[in-house]
Symmetry: C2
Subunit: 317 residues, 2 copies
């Protein structure tokens, strides 16, 4: 059923890096690019209608309840008690299964757009529970460390999931991120299942020492403390086995002068932080070279760390 | 052997609160009182000589290698390659086994005093490894979350033990601490052994969310974030079983308006943080009343969070 377009809005939501080395499931930040765009318009019939998905190679479902954008908007309409429906056209402008929060970006963009069409019954932050539900659909586990920065921008701490408590952390102006996306896919569900359900207390203590150090380094602009704290003794040692390029890419980034380097989300993308744009660009070159030497074509992105989240880029509202 | 006193120095090192709810083994901060005093002087004979310990009811060993102050100075003399020796007279001005870092305060005071007598071959921060060795003697586990704030003052993050990386975190001016010490003892070794060697990953994630939130709250002076982050899902649920007063004292502190409340070190002392001196004093009253109602006589202390560490209080240097 092709829904007639009345009032429409087009929203961009950025790709994101989650986990951020020591902050498994609690840290995430927005990139300047890539990202997804969602066009949305009101329809008379109640419900969510995904009219088209572009750029996914036909892989994403059009059924609203199986599509992250559809789930997010569906939950929002229920909560708002809306009598009208929403139609969506999704423009995937980033690779699926890349570890850059592809499903979260679509959900964030769709929820943000739908909220505008409903005359903003929710604060942007209040859209997070809808995105959380959407992520549960996409990868079996409810997490918002991608959706929160995609929606709100900047660097996000998910302090707690119960109750949901999302905190924006300030970032120093000189901090830049390099992301490299080698053209291969990692199954997020598998990457999650391979983690142990229990970890040694001594490793947990080491991890939360780094989590505190990273947080302090970020807020105080202490690049050396950020560098020392970018160590993960729990998740990356396990997940890196899924990434044939992990060690080479990391070495290349560190030799180029990055503060630290790790897996973006559950991979295969990897990211590095640098204390200047120059170093971030040098790091991109080094990571790309390393990836190509391993026979993995890739895209690379460089971005300042402080980026806006979901925003209107077109439409007539 | 009574060592003749030539040049002497008298040093105070404060009691400390370690763990700080969510920061097991990584957080600690200095109190204004109580604390230990150590008088030290140079002697011709190489080695460390503990001439007397006051205020311990005869419980602390005079053998240098079994006394935390002795061990700290001993390791320092070895590292400095000193030909002379150091004699110590230790004035315990705080209860043993209280959870306020009694052994660490003695070690910090002794190391600080001895360093002065040797004409400061070490920076204050460089004395930490000697205190770490001393703590290993006292409770079987090497940790510096008490010794570091006792030596350096303020709020300390022990980001890493290997390599030892101790970071001073800024604290907001309005933050105050209440400590209550009920007159009973907890064996630190036992309190440590009862902890599980492995913990569920989901709990670890919850803990490091709080650790990051607490760190951010502290640096940014966000009292509400501090309040939300003062939750421990790993250590306190286990250790509180050793403290018959835990739940009552905690409830009393929270009802008095404290931001959060938990075990100081491994107990039996408990501490609370408050966003004003008035609330900290109210909290002290409430915690004391609760303790007395349980038949536990106690001392209470109120202190701003930003306190100096070890310092000279007398002697002729």
């Amino acid at each position: 059923m092709k829904q007639e377009r009345s009032r429409t809005v087009r929203v961009f939501a950025p790709a994101t890096v989650s986990n951020v080395v020591c902050g498994y499931d609690i840290f995430g930040f927005a990139l300047s690019e890539p990202g997804d765009e969602v066009q949305a318009w009101l329809v008379d019939e109640a419900g969510v209608f995904i009219e088209a998905v572009h750029g996914d190679g036909g892989r994403l479902p059009l059924e609203a309840e199986w599509n992250t954008a559809g789930v997010a908007v569906s939950r929002m309409l229920e909560k708002a008690g809306a009598s009208q429906g929403i139609a969506l056209e999704i423009h995937k402008k980033m690779p699926l299964g890349s570890g850059m929060g592809s499903s979260a970006a679509s959900a964030a963009a769709a929820a943000f757009a739908a909220n505008i069409l409903l005359d903003s019954p929710f604060q942007t932050r209040e859209l997070l529970p809808f995105c959380l539900e959407a992520e549960r659909t996409a990868c079996g586990a409810g997490h918002v460390d991608n959706a929160a920065p995609s929606l709100l921008g900047g660097f996000i701490l998910v302090r707690s999931y119960d109750p949901l408590d999302v905190v924006s952390l300030p970032v120093p102006p000189g901090l830049f991120c390099t992301v490299i996306h080698p053209r291969m896919e990692v199954n997020t569900g598998q990457a999650r299942r391979m983690l142990p359900s229990s970890i040694p207390l001594v490793k947990a203590v080491r991890q939360w020492g780094n989590v505190s150090g990273f947080t302090a380094g970020l807020i105080q602009g202490d690049f050396d403390l950020i560098r020392r704290s970018m160590e993960d003794v729990i998740v990356e040692p396990v997940r890196s086995s899924l990434l044939p390029h992990y060690h080479e890419t990391r070495r290349a980034a560190m030799e180029a002068g990055a503060l630290g380097c790790g897996i973006s989300g559950s991979g295969p993308s990897m990211f590095a932080l640098s204390s200047s744009l120059e170093t971030a660009l040098e790091t991109a070159l080094a990571m790309k070279k390393s990836s190509l030497e391993l026979g993995l074509p890739c895209e690379e992105y460089v971005s300042a760390l402080s980026q806006p989240g979901a925003r209107v880029v077109g439409g007539e509202t």
